[in-house]
Point group: C2
């Protein structure tokens, strides 16, 4: 029996287990001169999988009711796909989901930081220098540390 | 909150999701001259994880009530650990578990082949040349194809 002819709806706890294995809470701060502070905060929730199991990513999308399936950007051969959710409205739903259904690995720590970032963004704090500094420091504590060019270039933080 | 101070018991569906991400059903056929046919069939169920999340492997062991936690043999740095279950009695329980709680990815196919191998072993067919051939052909269909030296060296199979 292949994965393609599986019609079952996913279970919430299954999604948590799969996320503990294959999921990623990621926040980047990207230089975008057009924005008022010159920096954009970009939070994402991703689940990466070999393309042979793409169907399960579509089921995850169906479960949440949002997100997109695309080629994983780190994969130059195009054999790895990802479910990706962006946007505050969707990510607040992702946070609700994992608050109700606890992660069991150290990804819980990343999720907690991710939640704090989304909370700051809900309050529009990422649009202030102070909020941006706070977010940069928060995400530097994540398990999978993203490159934080903002931290390297931040005058304020370098002085502290 | 780290993973270490999580006291929750694991949920069956979480284990399935985590296995769909990180688990592996593996069967090797090893040359052991002391055995009657000269070959040993060795089935294993493994879940591999970075050592920082070793605690979740111990919870998996606790859930099943058997298995061992050890350094992943493919890891020369010793930073990856694995839950490993061996032995027919334990593996029959693993099969019962995943029959009740379906895998959602293509690992379901590997599980199905793994179950067939265990079924043959329950009937002691692995102790006959015919059964050994059957097992070798079965495992050559697995997603993660193990090296099957037995197939390469089998006179019978080479002639067919």
């Amino acid at each position: 029996m292949g994965a393609d002819n599986q019609q079952e709806r996913l279970d919430a706890k299954w999604i948590v287990g799969f996320t503990d294995g294959e999921g990623c809470f990621h926040v980047s701060i990207n230089k975008i001169p057009e924005m008022s502070l010159g920096w954009q905060v970009l939070p994402e929730f991703r689940i990466v999988q070999h393309e042979k199991d793409e169907s399960v990513l579509f089921k995850i999308k169906e479960y949440f009711g949002f997100g997109e399936i695309r080629v994983n950007r780190k994969d130059f051969h195009g054999t790895r796909k990802e479910f990706r959710a962006r946007g505050l409205e969707n990510l607040n739903k992702i946070i609700d989901f994992f608050n109700k259904n606890s992660l069991m690995t150290s990804k819980r720590k990343d999720f907690k930081i991710f939640s704090e970032v989304i909370h700051l963004m809900n309050n529009k704090e990422h649009l202030t220098k102070k909020g941006l500094d706070k977010i940069a420091i928060l995400i530097s504590e994540m398990n999978r540390k993203p490159k934080i060019k903002y931290l390297e270039s931040s005058e304020t933080l370098r002085q502290t």
